[in-house]
Symmetry: C2
Subunit: 336 residues, 2 copies
């Protein structure tokens, strides 16, 4: 990508950069850490970047600033806001790597609703990692960018490479995501069925810390490798029937862990369950579609592009459905 | 119970008997068998008989019959019906124990809807066991009646003793239920919130055979003893706060196993999930109520009698709710 090289050069000169990253939908879920501070996951995971959805983030290092400033979707964040502190902490890693102390202006905006089971933090920290490292004059490999993104939000590691990505276990340096297939390998579609736009009560970071309190978590982790292997094989064979059964099983197992943790986390609502039931019904009627659900109530219906219209139409008839977003596979996090 | 002795004598003389048994709601669930034919469970369980709900069954041994006849809720069953065969098989055990070959007329009726997560088979096989053994002239101990009932439907073992019952592991003779507290020990109420009256697609007997196909089942079984011990202690201390957390966890763990079995079993529907969410909300507002859910979509809200009216009123406001039944603790299966 020679335009990326050009953009990186320009960023280093101007000390500012804008990057774009897609959220991703996990087919094999990440839930729980071996190391919370480094966000080293307890199990490997597998996902697809969502090309139609993106977060775009600009980072400007500016010697005249007395502190970092953060604007997300036109809203300014104060220094005591947890979101501000999380972002500042992330830019601190970049400052540490480059040995600079300059403050930065950070502006970010997304074209999709945040906090409702679409991995907004994944796109946000992938874009922030690419933009802030470039603005700081760093030339990072994809693996290093994935590592950096992971430090901000675990699943952000998977939004760095292109298309379909696998995030492996490892230490701080090698627990990173790699692409296992480009976006054009298979035109899978994610029909995101929005049943709630409320910001979830317990975010993923807090949830990961609860994972170990469920008596089901060790069984979930013990089976994750096998599910991931079978999911990867089905994906690379473009076998949606096999893959669909695995992603549903994996999602339900994660939510079983969540609902049995102490305190329990109930991300599902009535709409979630109605769509789960409807999905079985649609399949029985011949529509090949499968669900997965992240840490929120919204349901991701996975199908091939030939069936998107039928899935969207069917979903829109369900009473709790507020909105439907559709996305195919997306590219890597990148400078723009 | 001298009237039971009288009734048993009369039954032996007339070769006919009528028995009544209550369904029960499990606080610690039974899901999966060590031995399917003998219905020896994979884990111990704990329940409360539901005094307001009952099944009443009459068994008449009659030498003039050429085959058994079965009527349930005024409906006659044909010889090839699976329900008929299950009942005939059960009476065969009694015939085996008494070495008789006479056929029987069996009539049964219940005052609650069957097949929707209220354990209709538990009450049915407990009543059938008491009636058929008495009509056959047998004098069985409570443990033997519990054993016999268990052979027909696992959870029926818990509908034989009185009040709050624990069903232990063991072999055919000693895997039986015993009462751990009489009905008047604690006036807990089960507010059964009916969100579906459809007969479930996969009955419990089929479901138990699927339990081992879930990767979560061994973790569920491994934790069951501990949950049961804590639940029994909370129950005997009349500590609903502690007990409530355990029964919700245990129910969710069972449904996690069900939803991750192969093929998956989704007993919950949108109404189920709405009530789960509402229960958290009600508690946050100060109403002490906890849910449990059997192998069906309906939700059992457990509270003390002082809060029944508030719980019933709140539940009736939810859109999917079709009916609400209320029951306190019930007595043993018995001749009437």
């Amino acid at each position: 990508m020679s335009d990326q090289t050009e953009l990186r050069k320009k960023a280093a000169q101007t000390r500012q950069a804008t990057a774009l990253a897609h959220p991703n939908i996990a087919f094999i879920k990440y839930w729980g850490n071996q190391d919370h501070a480094l966000r080293l996951p307890i199990n490997p995971s597998l996902s697809m970047n969502l090309g139609a959805l993106f977060t775009q983030t600009t980072v400007i290092f500016d010697d005249s600033l007395s502190h970092d400033s953060l604007t997300i979707n036109q809203q300014d964040y104060t220094l005591d806001d947890p979101a501000y502190q999380r972002v500042r902490h992330h830019v601190d890693i970049v400052r540490e790597w480059t040995n600079i102390s300059t403050h930065a202006r950070i502006e970010s905006s997304s074209n999709f609703p945040v906090g409702s089971g679409i991995a907004s933090s994944a796109a946000a920290f992938a874009a922030l990692s690419v933009a802030s490292s470039a603005a700081a004059g760093l030339t990072l490999t994809e693996a290093q960018l994935s590592q950096l993104a992971r430090r901000g939000s675990g699943s952000a590691s998977r939004s760095v490479p292109t298309g379909y990505c696998e995030w492996t276990l490892g230490n701080d340096v090698d627990s990173v995501a790699v692409s296992i297939a480009p976006p054009n390998f298979w035109d899978l579609q994610d029909v995101v069925v929005v049943v709630s736009q409320e910001h979830k009560a317990v975010g993923s970071t807090g949830g990961h810390r609860l994972a170990d309190t469920s008596s089901l978590q060790s069984a979930r982790v013990a089976g994750a490798d096998d599910r991931l292997t079978r999911c990867r094989e089905a994906l690379l064979a473009r076998d949606l029937v096999s893959m669909g059964a695995i992603i549903e099983e994996d999602a339900v197992i994660m939510h079983g862990v969540m609902m049995s943790s102490q305190p329990p986390l109930y991300y599902w609502n009535a709409g979630t369950m109605r769509i789960i039931q409807a999905t079985q019904q649609w399949r029985a009627e011949g529509l090949p579609v499968y669900f997965t659900i992240d840490a929120g109530p919204n349901v991701h219906l996975i199908c091939e592009s030939a069936h998107v219209q039928a899935v969207v139409s069917a979903a829109k008839q369900l009473p709790e459905v507020q909105d439907v977003l559709v996305s195919g596979p997306g590219g890597p996090a990148r400078l723009v």
